[in-house]
Amino acid sequence: MTTDPTIVVGVKQVPDDDEVGIDPDTGHLDRASAPAVMNRPDRNALEAALALRDETGGEVLAMTMGPPTATDVLETAVALGCDDAALISDRKFAGSDTWPTSLTLAAAAEALDADVVVCGEETTDSSTGQVPPGIAAHLGWAQLTYVEALEPELEDDTLVAIRDVEGGHEVVAADLPVVVAVAYGENEPRAAGLHRKLYAENEFEPLELSADDLGLDENEVGMDASPTEVGGMETVEPVEREREVADDVDDLLASLRETEVLA
């Protein structure tokens, strides 16, 4: 029987999709100058974690692996209601692909004594969705991905989820401890309360965890432990479109006739 569970939420700082501008010289997206924000799907993860705590008690801790500037997303998490937050930061983590990233987050989840790890569906910058199953695999825990709703049965050390599967839904019960990945857009993230917001901005200091703190060797993390590498990047020319705006339905039909899609 689990009481007062520790719920750890993984949040990541990413370039703001909506603010990515076009580089006037190259005509391509300029992500470097976009402001950094919390990965949108992680807001759903946070909401799911906070809602779970509302039901079960215990505490919610946010964790992020990234540079010290990523403290910003931890502040956001604390403002939204997380009890505390950890910055997992070390030069040794640089160049991590999903294998060492999930190992590092798995070690942090253990260090924080997590019963449940909640993640987003995927990040908008690397968009792999591999980190949550990766954390579960490193820890040998159960996992629940594409989760729409959670139902705790702590008396049986079980977390039940409604999962989105191809063409439908399923209800799955998983043993604790467990890693959850919440389907993007499945809940309405709450707004930050004023008190919490002031605390997050003025007083809050994150717990800091390095590779040494987590007992991770240099060759287990970062570039050295990453099986994949980027071999090259090609810019894809945007698909050429006519971009004609019709005056009315007649005009639209006339244009469509010319394309021969409509005889």
Binding site: D17, V20, H28, L29, T98, W99, D125, S127, T128, Q130, P133, G134, A136, A137, H138, A142, Q143, T145, Y146, R163, V165, E166, G167, G168, H169, E170, V171, V172, A173, A174, Y184, G185, E186, A225, P227, T228, E229, V230, G231, G232, M233, E234, V236, V239, R241, E242, E244, V245, A246, D248, V249, L252, L253, S255, L256, R257, T259, V261, L262, A263
Partner: protein, 341 residues
């Protein structure tokens, strides 16, 4: 495997394709992968191996041979039906470690993305997500290409010193092969290493309805947030155009339409001759899935909606008026020969 997980890559050969089936129904992406992977095995001079997991799945294994596999490995046991991440991951991992495939391809479905990491992590394999192109270079190294940064860049991901080279592949990007009933291949039943007593999860209910395949549609009318729960106008237009109905993620999340019909980064890639976006804003994640369409039409009441940048023809207006209007004109002028399929 050495301490850092690197291996002698020469010990690894063959290309494996995971054939995803639920209750005997095979996901089309598996056939797409078998077709595309056969190009790789031809270049490599190696075998194309189908991996079939489930209960009572001999038919699936035979179908995999007909669709191009040289061999099929079958893990058949009640523990594998319905799908769960831990038994699938464990069985797959054991096979990979024992048989040492060079390349493993898995459809980027919820199922494929769910368990792929449970194989790649213990094997310390390279795993590239959601590829849209795959090739091998002259040394036989897999070049896994995937869109990055909202589709503006195609990144090539390599895995030089670890094996297998694993990748999940987006559904709908490759064409499926036709079955050839005369093809022959070896079907081998493998040892099942998973015990029900060791599993960490249990499926209590499973309800699967519409698994429509929009990837083969010639014409598509796609609905978005602008429909506000009322798909009638879009349906009316789809009927007039003899088109299949598809959707943005917003429309799916709102529960107006089944997830199988979602277009985009986390949905399907489609390539119809005509794509009509109805009340869809044109977010990058959506547009990625429709870029291969022939003619794109957008109906949106916001002249600044990004979808107009990705459309050939747009009309600024209220979809509740434009759709029926358009449908009526198409019907009246007999512009589309409607087939009954």
């Amino acid at each position: 495997m050495s301490d850092d997980g690197t291996v002698d890559v020469d010990e690894y050969s063959d290309v494996w394709v995971f054939v995803e089936s639920h209750d005997g129904d095979v996901m089309n992406v598996s056939w797409e992968l078998l077709n595309e992977a056969s190009i790789l095995t031809e270049q490599l001079g190696e075998d194309l191996v189908a991996l079939v997991v489930g209960e009572g799945c001999d038919d699936v294994a035979e179908a995999a041979i007909e669709r191009g596999a040289d061999r099929a490995l079958v893990a058949d046991d009640p523990v594998f039906e319905p799908y769960r991440a831990d038994p699938y991951g464990e069985q797959f991992r054991a096979l990979v470690e024992k048989r040492k495939p060079a390349i493993v391809l898995i459809g980027g479905t919820h199922t494929g993305r769910d368990f792929a990491g449970r194989v790649a992590v213990p094997a310390h394999a390279g795993l590239t997500a959601d590829c849209t192109e795959i090739d091998v270079d002259e040394d036989g190294l897999l070049q896994a290409r995937r869109p990055a940064f909202g589709g503006n860049v195609l990144a090539t991901i390599l895995c030089k010193d670890h094996r297998p080279q694993m990748a999940t592949i987006r559904p709908g990007v490759f064409e499926a092969s036709d079955p050839d009933p005369d093809r022959e291949g070896e079907i081998e039943r493998v040892d099942v290493v998973v015990d029900e007593a060791d599993t960490m999860s249990a499926v209590r209910e499973r309800e699967v309805g519409d698994t429509a395949d929009i990837t083969e549609a010639d014409r598509i009318v796609a609905v978005g947030g602008g429909c506000d729960g009322d798909l009638e106008p879009a349906r009316r237009l789809a009927d007039a155009l003899d088109a299949d109905l598809a959707a943005s993620r917003k429309a799916v999340d709102e529960g107006w339409i089944e997830g199988a019909r979602q277009v985009g980064q986390t949905g399907k890639t489609v390539r119809p001759d005509l794509y009509v976006a109805v009340g869809i804003s044109g977010a990058v994640q959506h547009v990625e899935g429709l870029n291969d369409s022939g003619v794109v039409v957008a109906i949106n009441n916001d002249p600044n909606a990004p979808i107009f940048e990705h459309a050939d023809y747009g009309i600024v207006g209220d979809l509740f008026e434009v759709c029926p209007d358009l449908a009526e004109r198409i019907d009246a002028e007999g512009l589309v020969e409607v087939t009954n399929d």
